[in-house]
């Protein structure tokens, strides 16, 4: 017996204690990302938990201090990569605020189409993953084909799918092609019935309701104190949405409502995201309609007239002196920014994505800080799951829409 103890060096008191320590993560299929939770379990009940993050920290804020504005856009892709167009446009909007660039209405509406598509794809992933974690795999596979369609639209507009690097300061790199609009029409036509089916699969499903109602709940007051934003905050009953409180990209021209929940539990988070997808669909429809109303030269506008910051057309770069100079200056970061401090935020897929940019008048930011919503609200996780069951903690984790890329920056 004593010999046995010598070989396996157990921590002091680990035999006598009544609880079990369990590592969930850093790489575990149920975490959907790289986070570690060290949980103390009494049976299946969670006594305490400690979260560790930072496994994929890539020092974006430091890298950004050497990069000209356009080279920072690809960094923002890699924050919340489930809805990277929103991050890209948030960054471009921040630059536009600093540089005082006004965008034409058509650009705003095109941006809104892309951002709302991104929101749908983000919520779609999150909600279907909640389904997977409660044992319903079908919904997840079924809706994937519509995320694919969204990605095809991105591809048509910017050439890439996941890390999109979409748009420019002042607008888009090119006008939307007819194929993009055809695909958008297909999406608008087919997606509502798919979302309806997806919703039918879950909202009144006895098993799903039993698993999600009353688990992972938080009060509005605690959620605000914890800095919750986005659907997670709205599920507690607070109707804070950046699109309405500080409208950007002409969101004020649109008619949509902000769904709110009541209990802030996993079920309410699911419902809020579900309803937001319907609202996003309606916004896209309105935006598409508005775009079709532009006539003549206005119908071809896809960027603001800002040669200092907007890359010229490639044909012009090869044939015109002026365009070549601007191209060189922008690519090499020879255009200095004005001095100033701006904070700009957009409603990202999982909350308020903020950019705090300090410029000292140089080519690269003096300091750039990302307000990453899930980094801030993930610290409430122990409070959400303590006292609950381990299997509910897994559902809570996926319903918070945690994206490791965003959390770790």
């Amino acid at each position: 017996m004593t010999e046995h103890h010598q070989h396996i060096k157990l921590p002091e008191g680990s035999i006598e204690k009544q609880t079990v320590t369990l590592n969930v993560g850093p790489t575990h299929p149920a975490t959907h990302g790289v986070f570690q939770n060290i949980m103390e379990l009494d049976g299946e009940r969670i006594v305490s938990t400690e979260s560790t993050v930072g496994y994929i920290h890539r020092a974006f804020e430091k890298i950004a201090e050497r990069r000209p504005l356009y080279q920072i856009t690809p960094l923002t892709d890699r924050l919340n990569y489930c809805s990277s167009p929103i991050n890209n446009m948030g960054w471009h909007l921040t630059c536009e605020k600093l540089l005082d660039v006004k965008t034409p209405k058509r650009v705003d509406y095109l941006r809104i189409i892309i951002m709302e598509l991104a929101r749908i794809s983000d919520h779609l992933i999150c909600n279907s993953i909640v389904g997977v974690d409660t044992g319903a795999y079908t919904g997840f596979l079924y809706v994937m084909q519509y995320r694919e369609l969204i990605y095809e639209i991105y591809e048509e507009v910017c050439g890439s799918r996941l890390t999109t690097n979409i748009g420019r300061i002042g607008g888009f790199e090119r006008n939307f092609s007819n194929t993009a609009f055809t695909k958008l029409e297909k999406f608008l036509k087919e997606y509502p019935s798919v979302l309806k089916e997806f919703e039918n699969l879950f909202t009144r499903n006895r098993i799903f309701m039993d698993r999600t109602i009353g688990t992972g709940g938080i009060s509005a007051e605690r959620a605000l104190n914890y800095g919750f934003t986005g659907p997670n905050l709205r599920a507690t009953g607070v109707d804070y949405d950046v699109r309405v409180h500080a409208p950007y990209s002409s969101y004020e021209d649109f008619d949509f409502s902000i769904p709110v929940g009541k209990t802030g539990d996993n079920y309410d988070r699911f419902l809020v995201r579900n309803e937001e997808m319907w609202q996003s669909l309606s916004i896209i429809q309105q935006a598409y309609q508005k775009i079709q109303e532009f006539k003549g030269a206005e119908a071809e506008v896809f960027h603001a007239n800002v040669p200092e910051y907007y890359l010229p057309k490639k044909e012009d770069v090869y044939t015109k002196m002026e365009a070549l100079i601007w191209h060189f200056k922008i690519i090499m970061g020879e255009v200095d920014m004005p001095k100033g401090e701006v904070y700009k935020s957009v409603e990202g897929g999982n909350g308020e994505l903020g950019f705090y940019l300090i410029s000292d008048g140089g080519r690269a930011p003096f300091r750039l800080h990302f307000r990453r919503p899930c980094f801030i609200y993930y610290q409430a996780y122990p409070e959400l799951v303590t006292g609950g069951m381990l299997s509910d903690a897994i559902v809570t984790m996926s319903s918070l829409n945690l994206i490791a890329g965003e959390m770790d920056a």
């Binding site: 920290h57 804020e61 890298i63 705090y356 307000r371």
Partner: protein, 173 residues
């Protein structure tokens, strides 16, 4: 532009309330891109935050963001801790800064007032070495525990892009 001033509370009114309460202890008021920004001595950060939070008229109860900035050229004021606060009712944002010297970067923690500040302060400590006095768990969060420097300070430059001494078949330049 953010439509922030349509309600009752305005930037001028906030400044009035703050100077009425703290006098000269709050200073450097400026409005950049529509957001009111001001400073206080680092000893007073909690008093100011508490007042902003508790005052019925001001009601800045939401901590949007907390981060630090390193200004190596300002002796005695090398580090700034920047709080972005939001009044959700009147829909106004403000920016509040406290400066500290880099040799004794002690700033009181706001984590008792805002639970959200806990990790944001840990991140700020991790990257700038700001010592948040009274923080319940001030340790590194994104970097490895063994790290012995604060990487976002300006004294640690990024790798020289023109270096030629690297001989790496797979990842070298």
């Amino acid at each position: 532009m953010d439509k922030e001033q349509k309600m009752g509370l305005t930037n001028e009114r906030i400044q009035e309330r703050l100077t009425g309460k703290f006098g000269d202890a709050v200073f450097h008021f400026e409005e950049s891109y529509g957001m009111l920004s001001f400073e206080a001595a680092k000893e007073n950060n909690l008093k100011v935050l508490q007042f902003l939070h508790d005052d019925a008229e001001l009601g800045f109860r939401f901590l949007t963001d907390l981060c630090a900035v390193n200004y190596p050229d300002q002796p005695g004021r090398e580090l700034a801790v920047v709080y972005h606060l939001h009044n959700l009712v009147d829909n106004l944002r403000i920016r509040f800064k406290v400066f500290t010297d880099i040799t004794t970067p002690d700033v009181y923690t706001a984590s008792k007032l805002f639970a959200a500040a806990n990790w944001m302060e840990r991140e700020t400590y991790d990257f700038f070495g700001v010592n948040f006095v009274g923080h319940p768990n001030l340790k590194r969060i994104l970097n490895v525990d063994e790290m012995d420097y604060f990487p976002l300070r300006k004294e640690y430059p990024l790798e020289d892009q023109t270096r030629v001494d690297k001989d790496d078949e797979m990842f070298g330049r």
